[in-house]
């Protein structure tokens, strides 16, 4: 039986942190600790003396972890580095997924690989979910705006809903703009004029 890995995940977003932790727990009974607060990050990480630190690449606080790489005293154990640079493919996958792993000490690649793969997969999944959510939200907002614009047109010109929609679509096509943009312009103008 291999020993439990101590993994630290630096993540502010609780939802995302939970997803990553769940993904890592599926691998086995590892000890996982989430740090959400970025102040004095290097010290907090060092206190946990983890085997692996996972952090979002887009997080500017990542630079704080670079200090760990400078710790030369044997008591301050970590000699951290950005994933394993010798494995180009793995590093590239991590960069594309937006996750950075600091590997502490001489952890073998066979042990790192599944952890990183799981983290990469979770980062991808989270980003997809976020993108889907944003798209759904936007579509909903656009539909609401178009509905309001239709209502304004119907009232102002005394036409029915189908005619108002046709009018909107024609204006959008004539101007080479999106339907939602024309609708938004009408809503804004109407708010200003009323």
């Amino acid at each position: 039986m291999t020993k439990r890995l101590k993994i630290v995940v630096v993540e502010k977003d609780p939802e995302r942190a939970r997803m990553i932790v769940d993904g890592l727990l599926e691998l086995g009974d590892h000890s996982i600790h989430v740090i959400a607060e970025e102040t004095a990050l290097a010290r907090k990480v060092a206190e946990r003396s983890p085997d692996i630190v996972l952090i979002d690449l887009a997080n500017p606080s990542r630079d704080m972890l670079e200090e760990l790489a400078l710790a030369t005293s044997p008591l301050e154990r970590p000699v951290a580095m950005f994933v394993d640079r010798s494995d180009h493919q793995l590093t590239r996958a991590a960069i594309e997924a937006g996750v950075s792993a600091y590997v502490v000490g001489g952890l073998q690649r066979e042990r790192l690989r599944p952890v990183l793969d799981a983290a990469v997969a979770r980062f991808h999944m989270f980003r997809r979910m976020r993108a889907e959510l944003a798209a759904t939200k936007r579509a909903l907002e656009e539909r609401k705006t178009i509905d309001r614009a239709k209502g304004i047109l119907m009232k102002a010109r005394g036409i029915d809903e189908a005619a108002a929609y046709t009018l909107l679509r024609k204006a959008a096509m004539d101007q080479g703009r999106k339907l939602s943009e024309v609708a938004a312009a009408i809503v804004t103008a109407s708010e200003l004029l009323s």
Binding site: E38, T39, A40, P60, R62, D63, E66, A69, L70, H88
Partner: protein, 392 residues
């Protein structure tokens, strides 16, 4: 945009200006380069992009490629600094409680006397002074180390230099996690605007001509794409010349302020370009001409002696043998590649590739292989002289 695509990473700082201007004002296009700029959230990210080949070139803290050559900060690819992109451009600030204390001791915040400011700072510290810098390998860390080290040989015990990402500097100061900082603009001025701190000194008050950011590339890429690299050097050089003209500062501030670059108010950026600062929330103004230099005084020439100075500092803290570190460091600043790119452009090129750092006290004309090179004063505040020894 047309031409060969070249990706370059940068951090949102005033001194990324030469790359941004080269892309925005067509200097890159003139060289047949379609410059694709990518904003990074951290220095480790820019460095990793560069070493992994996600970008071909980068705006990088001068000590980062030197640290890589010394094997500090993990294994990375060999990096070359092919030109200096900016000289000076950092500020030192203190928290409001510390500023109060300094004022009570009679310090005047003259924004120029590093010895007086440093002594006041050391004298007012209760315990160890905690100073935030943007990265372990940075001119900020080197300058603060030199400054306090020269005034107080016991500095390592009296000051703790810790990494705080520039966007979080004001917050860390306000939260009392650090007492002072040394950071590139606009982040010092932003700390003042947020009421978190006051500005004490420009970095140039410690070393009058400190190489701050370099244009860095992978050595492997440098050898494979020499023409593209030479074109990029010339484009960035021309952008630096444009930036050094005062009448362009307003336009430069507007361009840099855009969301895709610094995403901050142009007035704040203009302070650094013109050297006109507001140092406290009370609106006290200070003028420091030449706060950041993109062109004059041979600013872009990558002096091997500058790299050796950085190498010596890094070696001292990491406990590496000094001579070997200095030798490895000077190989990183590629004055040979800079000369090749700039040959025939009329740019002033010195005959030597190294100089005694800290010895120029007034404008000094030096032997040039082309153009007319006038070195600007490069004094260290403590009058120290750095002689890198025979090099070429």
């Amino acid at each position: 945009m047309s031409g060969a695509r070249l990706r370059a990473g940068f951090l949102p700082l005033v001194d990324a200006a030469p790359l941004i201007v080269a892309a925005e004002l067509g200097y890159a296009t003139e060289e047949g380069i379609a410059l694709d700029l990518r904003k990074a959230p951290s220095w480790s990210m820019v460095r990793d992009w560069l070493t992994m080949g996600e970008v071909e070139a980068a705006h990088l803290l001068a000590p980062v490629p030197v640290a890589a050559a010394l094997g500090l900060g993990g294994r990375t690819a060999s990096l070359a600094a092919v030109m200096v992109m900016s000289v000076n451009g950092t500020v030192i600030g203190v928290s409001r409680p510390l500023a109060e204390k300094l004022r009570r001791t009679g310090h005047e915040f003259d924004f120029s006397d590093a010895a007086a400011a440093g002594r006041a700072l050391i004298g007012s510290a209760d315990g160890a002074l905690r100073i935030g810098v943007p990265f372990p390998f940075s001119m900020q860390a080197e300058l603060v180390g030199h400054w306090l080290g020269a005034l107080d040989p016991a500095t390592p015990g009296h000051a703790v230099i810790q990494t705080v990402p520039p966007p979080l500097m004001a917050e860390a100061l306000a939260a009392g996690e650090i007492d002072a900082f040394c950071v590139g603009e606009p982040w010092g001025s932003i700390a003042v605007e947020k009421g978190a701190g006051e500005l004490l000194l420009p970095g140039a008050a410690i070393w009058a001509f400190a190489p701050e950011k370099v244009l860095a590339v992978r050595e492997e890429w440098s050898a494979a794409a020499p023409q593209l690299q030479d074109g990029l050097i010339r484009a960035v050089w021309r952008a630096g010349r444009w930036l050094s003209d005062r009448k362009n500062h307003t336009a430069a501030s507007e361009i840099l302020a855009r969301e895709r670059y610094l995403d901050t108010a142009p007035e704040i950026i203009d302070r650094a370009l013109g050297g006109r600062f507001v140092i406290s929330a009370r609106g006290e103004a200070r003028h420091f001409p030449g706060f950041v230099e993109f062109h004059e005084g041979g600013a872009n020439f990558p002096w091997r002696s500058q790299a050796a100075w950085i190498g010596r500092g890094l070696a001292a803290r990491a406990g590496l043998p000094e001579r070997r570190a200095m030798a490895a460091a000077r190989g990183v600043f590629r004055s040979d590649l800079y000369r090749r790119a700039m040959a025939g452009t009329g740019a002033a090129l010195p005959t030597a590739s190294a100089k005694v750092e800290g010895a120029v006290t007034a404008d000094l004309a030096v032997a040039s292989e082309s153009g007319r090179l006038i070195l600007r004063p490069d004094r260290f505040f403590d009058g120290s002289i750095f002689d890198p020894g025979p090099l070429d």
